[in-house]
């Protein structure tokens, strides 16, 4: 390993692709998070009613209902059979994320994500220790516990403390005490447990993970032969255990990141100077440089050349 491993994460990608190129999906993601928040906020703030409600349940343009499936499941085990509107709303959400990848919600929509990302950024800046790292499936147990608690108490248990909807409601209906809870999550991720909240605790993310188990949209490490082991993708990935099977898989194994934990955030694409990763669908098992994959059909003659250049580089 050369001195390059000590370069700050992403520096090489910035040098090659430019700052914007190396932050493409991060910028898109922030834009998307702001967009979804704005959809909810332009109503109460400017009287432009596109979406009413909160992430727990909403109505778009007075027709499209959307309901958080985890909230609805808790409501049902608590003993309430919801009206059709809520059921349809939840079905739409489930189908959408089953296709898109459940945890796409986490990285592209959830308002807590910028908070935990900020905590992580500061955590790395300050060089703080990893802290307490409960097992990843802790969040599944928390989800199960919330469902059981709902059944036993007859209330929607997780909603008592769910920071996602509390923050979202707070932003839309006026902030109060909700800010303190968000501060707690920030501190938890900063001081107690690196990427602890989203990675290990949040049952909403866990449920979205389950929903997206067979999702169509996936990240592929198609160009994995070009990987020069800079480890930058591991450094930026909030769920970096998902990378190895795809990136380090033996010949013949799928280059797809199939773990439902992957949040489809695309940071690995951004940060990789070798363009190893790209977005694709789960049936795309092809291996090769992105340029080859897209141009193979049209300029067939060019690709063998490209391939050999690569080998020359690696050698």
């Amino acid at each position: 390993m050369s001195a390059r491993t000590h370069l700050p994460v992403g520096q090489e990608a910035i040098a090659i692709k430019g700052w914007i190129g190396a932050h493409r999906f991060l910028l898109l993601r922030r834009a998307s998070q702001l967009f979804f928040l704005a959809l909810f906020l332009v109503g109460p703030w400017f009287g432009i009613w596109i979406v009413e409600g909160t992430l727990a349940g909403s109505r778009t343009l007075d027709i499209l209902p959307l309901t958080d499936p985890f909230v609805l499941v808790q409501s049902m085990v608590a003993g309430h059979w919801p009206a059709l509107t809520a059921l349809i709303g939840a079905a739409i959400v489930v189908v959408a994320y089953a296709v898109l990848g459940g945890r796409t919600y986490c990285s592209w929509v959830c308002p807590i994500n910028p908070v935990t990302d900020a905590a992580h950024w500061l955590h790395v800046k300050l060089g703080l220790p990893k802290g307490w790292q409960p097992k990843r499936n802790t969040r599944l147990w928390i989800a199960l516990a919330a469902i059981l608690a709902s059944a036993l108490t007859g209330t929607i248990a997780w909603e008592l403390i769910n920071p996602i909807t509390i923050l979202h409601r707070g932003l839309i209906f006026g902030l109060g005490f909700s800010l303190a809870l968000i501060g707690l999550i920030f501190l938890f991720d900063l001081l107690l447990s690196r990427q602890g909240w989203c990675g290990h605790v949040c049952p909403v993310g866990a449920i979205y993970g389950l929903i997206g188990t067979k999702s169509v949209v996936r990240i592929s490490a198609a160009n994995r032969t070009a990987c020069d082991d800079c480890m930058d993708c591991y450094a930026v990935c909030p769920e970096n255990q998902v990378i190895s099977p795809a990136l380090k898989g033996k010949d013949g194994t799928s280059p797809l990141i199939l773990s439902p934990d992957c949040t489809n955030c695309g940071r690995c694409i951004d940060v990789c100077a070798q363009d190893v990763f790209h977005f694709t669908h789960r049936f795309d098992n092809r291996i090769g440089a992105l340029a080859d994959l897209s141009s193979a059909a049209t300029i067939g003659a060019a690709s063998p050349d490209n391939g050999s250049t690569h080998h020359a580089e690696i050698n």
Binding site: G43, W49, E52, G53, T54, A56, G57, S58, R59, P65, T67, D68, V71, L72, S75, A78, G79, H80, W81, P82, A83, T85, A86, G89, S150, T153, G154, T155, I156, E159, L160, T165, I166, R169, I172, F173, G176, F177, S178, L181
Partner: protein
């Protein structure tokens, strides 16, 4: 029957009312039911044209965090005919079978302080009575003799719980610095009669006669002149006479 309910979060000096419109399922209070049904989306809040409803803040009312409530003293429910809040609710937490707002049961108004209520002091304030959307049914003025002045009447505002919707207009309008009439959640406002109690007069009416054959109707003693003597003017004669009774 579908009911709109109100719960109360009484925390310290604060008393906020939670709109708990919900099914009255057997064995559970409407409030418990509501907590399992409301997903805290706030669509009802958005569609209320009077800004009556608010979403409870974290810690404000325990398990009710995020659920809709209203504070009657600030903005009561205006009892819209088309009940937009119910129409907006996607889960049915606000019961869709409530079609007549007069059937809503968001709580019950209680005249909590007779000592300061102006009508009880012998004045004609009547404000709570006049603002009630179900005037003369949910709230009436019951007259009685004013023994202090000796020659006036007391017009006591009296709530009839089965007709009161709990809208809180009376509480909002009470002229006192702190309202003498307040909307309380039904479980606080009302007693519950034991199952085995029967009201003789109701049973008699339903049964067209006493339930027990051969029961003797003893003279009733009521206050008034010559109370224990039925022969004296002002005495009492039972409305229902036992067949064959001689007295």
């Amino acid at each position: 029957m579908c009911l709109c309910r109100i719960g109360t979060g009484v925390s310290g000096a604060r008393c906020s009312r939670l709109a708990r419109h919900s099914h009255q399922a057997t064995g559970r209070t409407g409030e418990e039911d509501f907590l399992s049904a409301c997903i805290r989306c706030g669509l009802c809040v958005r569609d209320c044209p009077y800004d009556t409803l608010k979403l409870a803040e974290l810690g404000e009312d325990g398990p009710a965090t995020g659920t809709p409530y209203f504070t009657a003293r600030d903005i009561p429910c205006e009892m819209c005919d088309d009940i937009p809040c119910v129409a907006a609710c996607p889960t049915g937490a606000l019961d869709p079978s409530l079609t007549n707002i007069d059937d809503a049961d968001m709580g019950v108004a209680v005249l909590v302080d007779q000592e300061n209520c102006l009508n009880f002091l012998g004045l004609r304030c009547d404000v709570c009575y006049r603002v009630c959307p179900v005037i003369d049914e949910a709230i009436t003025l019951e007259t009685s003799h004013n023994t202090r002045s000796g020659h006036h009447a007391i017009f006591a505002p009296t709530v009839h719980a089965d007709r009161c919707t709990g809208c809180g207009k009376c509480e909002q309008s009470c002229v006192l610095p702190e309202a003498a009439i307040k909307v309380l959640p039904t479980h606080l406002a009302r007693a519950e009669s034991a199952d085995h109690y029967r009201r003789g007069w109701e049973e008699k009416e339903a049964n067209d006669g006493p339930l027990v054959d051969g029961i003797i109707d003893l003279p009733d003693r009521l206050p008034g002149p010559g109370t224990d003597n039925l022969a004296t003017p002002g005495g009492f004669e039972p409305t229902y006479k036992l067949p064959g009774a001689t007295q």
